[in-house]
């Protein structure tokens, strides 16, 4: 799949933003006034910034509002509805904590649930696609949810929780890579089933339908960056999970240094997740590539 920057930015930032909103909704940390304002500003900046980036992915962005209509059947539509609902409910909760110094736990709980649901619906947009075997597994929502929660806990300053969640997310990421590497082969889709010509012998793509490229090849057959995928996995895993965990468990003395290291951990995590998210798209192989003798 073509790793479009708009979609990588969207899933990375909004995942982190909604992860932070989950913890803020649960009262972790229990903040009010200006501190709460800063926390909410970061969460909304990430979540809304990510959602805005996703609009650049559209061919006709001016019609984006129509996407809220088909929540009965479409995960993309459900995601839009969940995101708006989560942002509205959390705005009410944030208003209470920032201006009234009152946390309404029911409102916060609903907001946290909706924020988590938003991340889940995002992951289902990808996980539902049978055409991309690497995404079509239960590990995809597990990956998105665990990364979002780990990043959220990290941003919310929940050191113990963040350490545990980062380890879980890192383990799921490794499992996702191991399982994902076999996904295309185990899906059973080959050029033989794609053409139905397998009964006659070995099928090979002989001649493409056109001399130039096309939308399908640009969108679904991305091979440029895959040769570096192993290196990028190491970089992504180190920055996204290993380094933040080390920074969290290392006993730094002094509040200033501790805050500085927490900031480094957040930035490292963000860079690492962006790297793994790039791989999430670049490594994903669409079955339509078979018709072109490509993956």
């Amino acid at each position: 799949m073509h790793p479009a920057p708009s979609v990588i930015v969207f899933t990375t930032l909004s995942g982190l933003g909604f992860g932070l909103l989950v913890f803020l909704g649960l009262g972790l940390p229990d903040v009010s006034g200006l501190v709460a304002f800063v926390f909410f500003a970061i969460a909304y900046g990430l979540a809304v910034g990510g959602l805005l980036a996703s609009i650049f992915h559209l061919g006709r962005p001016e019609r984006a509002l129509k996407a809220f209509s088909q929540w009965k059947s479409s995960w993309l539509s459900r995601e839009g509805c969940c995101a708006v609902a989560a942002l509205l409910v959390m705005a009410l909760y944030g208003f209470g904590t920032v201006f009234l110094a009152t946390a309404w736990p029911v409102v916060g709980g609903i907001g946290a649930a909706l924020s988590l649901a938003t991340v889940f619906t995002t992951s289902m947009i990808y996980s539902q696609l049978k055409t991309i075997p690497r995404w079509n597994m239960p590990l995809t929502p597990a990956l998105f949810l665990s990364i979002s929660l780990a990043g959220g806990a990290l941003l919310a300053g929940q050191e113990t929780l963040a350490t545990g969640l980062l380890i879980i997310a890192g383990a799921i990421q490794l499992a996702y890579w191991v399982k994902g590497d076999q996904a295309f082969a185990t899906s059973g889709t080959t050029l033989a089933t794609a053409t139905g010509l397998g009964r006659g012998g070995t099928v090979r793509a002989f001649e493409p339908p056109h001399t130039g490229t096309n939308y399908l090849l640009r969108e679904f057959v991305h091979v440029v960056g895959r040769k570096h995928s192993q290196k990028l996995r190491v970089i992504g895993f180190t920055l996204g999970f290993a380094l933040p965990v080390l920074l969290l468990i290392f006993p730094f003395s002094g509040l200033m240094l501790k805050h500085l290291m927490a900031a480094v951990a957040v930035l490292s995590h963000l860079a690492g997740v962006a790297c793994t998210r790039w791989l999430f798209f670049a490594e994903a192989e669409h079955v339509v590539g078979l018709y072109y003798g490509k993956r």
Binding site: R60, T189, P209, T213, E219
Partner: protein, 263 residues
């Protein structure tokens, strides 16, 4: 709107005969022509005289099929199969249910999968969900394009009756494309599918395509003697006879040099 109908009254679709298709791409061109000049946003081209790329609703691939070696045929010849591919108007079309705006829909009356271009936001998710690469986002219009089964031809009272079939079917010079109701077991297309063992593409995807493909017949066995005309072309007489023979001998008797030849 984005939900699939539980069933459709008819299942209009194509049957493509891989045995007959000669790979001329006439269906590709007629499709592009009709669908650029008629319903919906035209099928645009980008940089057509340079690094060309454009939107097509129908494309013809070519595949090589190498039969396995066996005792009867120790080195069987490979077979070239031309393979036209367009929307298969699936019964369980994933492209319809993923659509967030309801722009994609499947018609109850004939099962045709269409895009309402006024509602399309160009998110591309339907193209992602299609295993066959049947949908292409038009870069000029920013909306998704797909085969309409020439919905603006097949019911068009302004066209002569013989033209009320999809443009690709009307154009095919080898008769490799057939159009009809695949939901009706007595229709010509259904009979053809039953008779020739028509099959689905990627049945494991669970899309239940309406369009069917007819398998190519196995290639004729290659005999030891490859050139069947060779026996007919072999020389039948070594020496000349009749008038030419008499002339040959008479000329030989004359004094002087004659090149080559005997006696």
């Amino acid at each position: 709107m984005t939900q699939l109908p539980p069933s459709t009254t008819r299942k209009m679709g194509l049957v493509i005969d891989l045995d007959t298709c000669v790979g001329c791409h006439a269906c590709v061109i007629s499709c592009k022509g009709w669908n650029t000049e008629n319903y919906g946003a035209p099928l645009s081209d980008q940089d057509p005289y340079g690094d060309a790329s454009g939107t097509f609703l129908n494309r013809v691939h070519s595949f090589e099929v190498q039969p396995p070696a066996c005792d009867a045929q120790p080195s069987p010849a490979a077979q070239l199969v031309h393979f036209p591919k367009s929307c298969l108007h699936c019964e369980d079309a994933p492209c319809v249910t993923v659509c967030p705006t309801g722009a994609s829909y499947k018609r109850v009356e004939d099962g045709i999968v269409l895009v309402n271009e006024d509602n399309c936001i160009g998110c591309g998710l339907c193209a992602w969900s299609c295993p066959y690469g049947a949908r292409e986002l038009d870069l000029a219009a920013g909306v998704m394009k797909k085969c309409t089964l020439c919905v603006d031809r097949i019911y068009n009272q302004n066209l002569p009756e013989e033209d009320r079939i999809p443009s690709c079917v009307r154009t095919c010079p080898s008769g490799a494309r057939h159009f009809g109701d695949l939901g009706d077991a007595d229709s010509d297309v259904s009979k053809l599918v039953a008779e020739r063992g028509g099959f689905d593409l990627m049945p494991e995807m669970g899309t239940k395509p309406v369009n069917k493909y007819l398998p190519p017949r196995p290639k004729d066995q290659i005999e030891d003697q490859i050139d069947i005309l060779a026996p007919l072309l072999a020389p039948v007489t070594e020496g000349a006879g009749g008038f030419m023979g008499w002339l040959d001998k008479a000329l030989d008797k004359l004094p002087g040099q004659s090149s080559g030849g005997s006696s």
